[in-house]
């Protein structure tokens, strides 16, 4: 119980997005679409150098316009280097290519493969960076509000999503609670791997069941408060699109296109 709560707290702190920056003030929907657009542009880059320069765009924005400290950035993004390495490796070792550099068992490293691997590995890192830039500067409530106001996403889905995000940390607590209940009721833990697997099953099903029950209760409570799931409602947090969004659009499009066309 307490460890769950503790984690919950840490999680909240870790997730507190930096919204007082230029990027933080961009409309979340606009930001989302711009980042997706940049990702599409990245697909057009065919060599690792261009991709590396394109990757620099979100990194620099993160550190300057988004006011994310370098340390936070490194801590949050470095785990994904594993992904970069594995992607690069897979294509280098098993990719198409003529110029063989090294061969061993089923591994066949080629120059073209490595080139492709680096390109796609860097592209993946760029995807990660755009994702991080987004989550690190966006408040979830605002995102959902803007999805409803700018993108006309159905409130049924939007509020369900909001509740889903709200509950995630709570489910850790719920998990601890189920474990505590099993302990109190005297369900003995079986040591070893078999016990672990048994434990996972024994806790997962109740956790999912609790999740379903929780979802139903919230649905009941919201509907009982006059929520009808249509866009026929007003919004306390008015999300707008303005000059800042245009600037951000210009910045991303110009830099990305410049790199793609000039390099």
């Amino acid at each position: 119980m307490s460890t769950g709560a503790a984690k919950l707290h840490r999680r909240r702190e870790a997730c507190m997005p930096e919204t007082n920056s230029f990027v933080g003030g961009v409309n979340p929907s606009v930001k989302l679409f711009l980042h997706l657009l940049c990702m599409i542009l990245l697909v057009f880059s065919r060599d690792p150098w261009t991709t590396l320069v394109l990757l620099a765009v979100p990194v620099i924005i993160t550190l300057t316009l988004a006011k994310i400290p370098l340390k936070t950035f490194i801590v949050r993004v470095s785990p994904f280097l594993v992904l970069f390495l594995s992607t690069t490796w897979v294509l280098a070792a098993y990719g198409k290519g003529e110029t063989v550099w090294w061969e061993w068992a089923w591994i066949r490293i080629t120059a073209e493969g490595l080139q492709n691997g680096l390109n796609i590995g860097l592209r993946m890192m760029a995807f990660v960076c755009y994702g991080f830039l987004f989550t690190a500067t966006t408040d979830v409530t605002k995102l959902v509000m803007s999805l409803m106001q700018q993108c006309k996403v159905s409130p049924k889905f939007a509020y369900a999503l909001l509740a889903g995000f709200r509950f995630l940390p709570l489910f850790k607590e719920e998990y601890a609670q189920i474990k505590a209940a099993h302990r109190v009721r005297g369900v003995a833990r079986v040591p070893g791997l078999r016990g672990k697997i048994q434990g996972v099953m024994r806790y997962t099903i109740p956790l999912l069941a609790q999740g379903i029950r929780k979802a139903e209760r919230v649905a009941v409570a919201l509907e009982a408060r006059g929520f009808d799931g249509t866009l026929n409602r007003t919004f306390y947090h008015q999300m707008t699109v303005g000059r800042r969004d245009a600037l951000y659009l210009a910045l991303l499009v110009v830099t990305n296109l410049a790199v793609l066309l000039l390099l």
């Binding site: 119980m1 460890t3 909001l162 109190v184 009721r185 005297g186 029950r213 139903e216 009982a224 007003t234």
Partner: protein, 532 residues
Amino acid sequence: MNEGTKTPFLGCERVSVQFFDRETPVLKEMSVQIEEKESVLLLGPSGSGKSTLAQVLSGIIPRSIEAWMKGNVYRPERVGVMFQDPDAQFCMLTVEDEIAFSLENRRVPPAQMRGEIQRLMREVRLDLPLNKQIAELSGGLKQRLALACLLALEPDVLFFDEPTAQLDPENTRLVLQDIAQLRGEKTLVVIEHKLESVMEWIDRVLLFGPDGSLQGTGKPEDVLRDHAQAIRDYGIWTPRMWPVTWEELLRDPQHELAQRLQSTPPAPNPVDKTEPLLEVRELRMSYRGGANVWSDVNVSVQPGEWVAVMGPNGAGKSTFLKAVGGLLPVSGGQVLLKGKELGKYKPEALYDRVGFVFQNPEHQFIADTVYEEVAFGGKLARWPQEQVERETTQLLADFHLEALASKNPFTLSQGQKRRLSVAGMLLKNQELLLLDEPTFGQDAATTRELVERIRERNENGTTVMMATHDVELVAETASRVLVFAEHGLLFDGTPQELFTQPDLLARAALIEPLAYEYRRRQAAQEEGSVYA
């Protein structure tokens, strides 16, 4: 369908409701009519269908909770419902967003919202910053916030399903006061066990029988008088004093109630003074990132004691029980059970000795049927089959759950869930029972049954520690009280000592039990007559 009569403001006509996994309907051909601006109380034993009727009238059944249903329901457009569980009714993070959600549904222009939110918060006396996190509110504050959210809907009808079940006496008073203020302004449908503060402003009572049929309806005093026998048979709460007043009672010491109040509670078990069962030393608890819930707590409990744990909402009663039960790592200090630190016990060995009933009954359900839930402990301990069967059946019968043996624990009514969670813990014979609000949401009969079973165990030597807000229960049963308040253990002593110190009671947001009030008034009267 209307047979010439006008459409009622709120009501139902020959409505039957049956839940999917039940063989019999909860409500059979029920017809109810409620006038505009009327205040109606639904009164009945636990599991009789009060919540179900409220859900039908408010439209939750069948819109959000599905069940087979037939018949007609009439209701004005805007209704608001307040649930028993303070946590089940919020979806946002902060107080202002939560109230705003109601306003948004009503299409209030955004520019007016902030002012509206502040007005609503004033109305329910919620003196908080707008962006206060809901998770940090105490149970009482949450219920007041829930009320503000309902009022934000500007509903024509308000439903309250045991809004005070888990509140301390002070918060109960405040919430009921808030609700009472709405009387005559809105139509109110209330389910509430604490009758004394409700009776004064209720216009009409609908009395349910155990089978979900309507037994009677009328003015509160008429129903209580005309159906006195049935009410006693079904085990429904009556107001603590009703129908007498203090004046009458003090004038007539031979009155039945006066006799009962004068009788001293049964002497507590003789306790074994030699070796403490439980020792708490310099205990301190804080949740991560928060201040101390309490600190410097020193308690030593002898075998056979019945210890009540009291205090306002959020004072840390549940936290204390969990710490003592080894379910929370403590932030400082020690808990010793029979001289051995809790951490040194193997979990299985520890929970052979210690039973724990969580405040939220659902937290401890681990089986798929009511029967299995109770039988679980016996099966685990490899009792002989027929012993498990016999004792389980007995417990289910005692707690009025036998008809539900094959049902899923999560589908029970609030009161049934609570009884089941206690029953599951009573099967085994632990040395220490930790019970977190074992009687909330119960009717008089089931409370009596629960107390009786716990007392039985206590008489056989089990030490009982129970958190509760019910001062009558404490006055009647406990041999000792711990009061948590003001970030520490405010009081540790006998109920007699506690309940005769008005300043202490005020600090702990507690009220005087009836018997103590009687004695105090009696003493004051005698003193008065002496002066005269």
